[in-house]
Each structure stands twice: as C-alpha cells, then as structure tokens.
C-alpha cells in the first residue's frame, strides 16, 4: 500500500530512468534530479534494490496496460507493431530491452524473471487472438511463437537503426 508521496517519487524516478537507463543508476544523482534525497528514497523503498524492483514493476504495469489496451482478435500483430514502432514509445522500449538483457545476465536480484515474464505475457495475448480451433494445437503454439519473434526482432532492429520504413515494410 504505497503512500501518496511514494507513488509521486516513483513516477518521477520512472521518468528519470526512461532517459538515463536503469543499469547504472545511482541514488544520489537520481535523488537530486527528482528533487528528493537518498534518505527519503531509502526510507520509502527500503533499499536500492527495493527501488529498482518498484521501477521494474512500474515498467511492467505500463506493458500490461498496453496489452490490455490492444485487446485481442484479428490484427493484433499489426496493432502491436503500430504501438512498438511509435517514436514516443522508444525510451520505454529501450528500458524494456535493458531490463530484459539484465535479467538474463543476472538471474538473481530485482531483475529475476523479467524476460521470461514478458515472453509469457505476450504469448498469452497472441494466443487469445487466435481462432479457437487452432489455439490449443501445436501449430497454434508455433504460429504465435513466430509472431512474437517477428515483433521482437523487428523491435531490436528498429531500436538500433531507427529505420522505421524498412522494418515496417518487412512486417507488412
């Protein structure tokens, strides 16, 4: 049950890491940037690990909100790609990739399970969007795994090159 001040500072910290990255964030610069102090951050979140965990949960909340907003049914892949390729979402997606990579390198700590969780979240949405008669077949599983791979791979490409035209054309 977070207090008002806690969610307020979490939002500010979230905005901060979206532009500065999560990997080598440190308390003092972060606190200074959001008009707080290390003392308060530690008081509210217990430890730096607690803060990172809260930030990761915050990012995940954004992701789940997106998936809920996209909905299910025909055309999900296109709708997902429209969202992923929107320039405004690039900082979030870079943060997402950073957390993904980190959770693979360091399977313990606050990052644990982040990568696996997002794979499952997305696969579930794709599954719900499949016709009922293929949803539980091996073919259906293969299809949505392929769709997910295509989206994620295209995202990697887009984040690195910024070449939206080429990547979007490849997905059409």
């Amino acid at each position: 049950m977070p207090s008002a001040r806690e969610t307020e500072l979490l939002e500010a910290a979230y905005r901060y890491v979206l532009t500065h990255g999560l990997a080598d964030v440190s308390l003092r610069p972060l606190a200074a940037a959001i008009g707080s102090s290390t003392r308060v951050l530690l008081y509210l979140f217990g430890s730096k690990e607690g803060l990172v965990r809260a930030l990761l949960a915050r990012a995940r909340a954004d992701e789940l909100a997106l998936l809920a907003d996209i909905g299910v049914g025909p055309g999900v892949v296109a709708r997902l790609w429209a969202w992923l390729s929107a320039p405004a979402h690039r900082p979030l997606l870079t943060l997402w990739l950073e957390a993904y990579a980190r959770s693979l390198v360091e399977p313990d700590g606050p990052w644990a399970g982040f990568a696996r969780a997002t794979v499952e979240d997305w696969l579930e949405v794709l599954r719900a969007s499949q016709p009922a008669d293929v949803r539980d077949t091996a073919d259906g599983l293969a299809t949505r795994t392929r769709e997910l791979a295509l989206l994620r791979g295209a995202l990697l490409d887009l984040l690195a090159t910024g070449d939206e035209q080429r990547v979007s054309a490849a997905l059409a």
Copy 2:
C-alpha cells in the same frame, strides 16, 4: 599490434565476461580472477574503457568468424539458427544481447554503434544469400529484414525461456 601477453590476458578476460557479464565488470575482481592485476590491465589497455573496447571487439570477432563460417547461399537462415540455438553458444549470445542493449542506452563510449553494426553485418550475409534477381529489390530488402527479425526475436525468446523445442518448431 597487441603483444603476446596482451592477447593472452584479453582471452582470459573474455572468458571471464562471458560468464560474469560486461555491464558491471570491475577491474580488481576481474584481475584477480584471471591472475593479473589492475596495474597490468591498465598498462596494457590504457584504461578500463580501452579494455571494454577490446573485449567488445573480441566478441565481434567471434561473431564475424561465425558469419564467415556459415557462408552464403540457400539455407542460411536454418544454418544460422542451428548456430544460435546451440547451448554452447548461449553465454556468448547473452553477452551479445547485453552489449546490444547497452549500446542503445549509452550511445557514447566504448559501446557506440555496436547494435547498428551487428544489424548491418547480418543483413549483408542474408543479402549475399539471396538470388541475384531479388537481391537489389525492395522485396529482397524486406525479406532479409524479416528473416533477421525472426532470428533475433527467436533468440530473445530462447535466451529467456530456454524452450528450444517450441522456438525451433516456430522457425521451421
């Protein structure tokens, strides 16, 4: 023109970061693990940034050697996936992803351009493997971009879940 001792230590350091990650490596633990000292690492590589740069170049050399070894022509995608999905290559690929993400978050420093460079390397191999009559068409570009996305996205999935059966089936 690196000295013998330099390449020897670089190999040892490379083996170290393959298991420990590159993001939060620090000189003293690294030096202790490979039987050296910070003094020597700094002497040989100039600075930590120089060392990281050398390690990134080393990883990239592995990648380019792979691409040369795979060759070009029909079936490249399958051959590439066989290599990517081999369990023995997982540490290298995790390191690769880590460097990829980092180069997006921090476009300056030793990581600069890593992500973009690998996209271009791989696209070029896929291009060389296409029939001559589509190689320079918009369709050819879209096709190889899609093939690359599929491979990279599948790799992300595999690294997170380890579910080689599902992911490989999706690529078939």
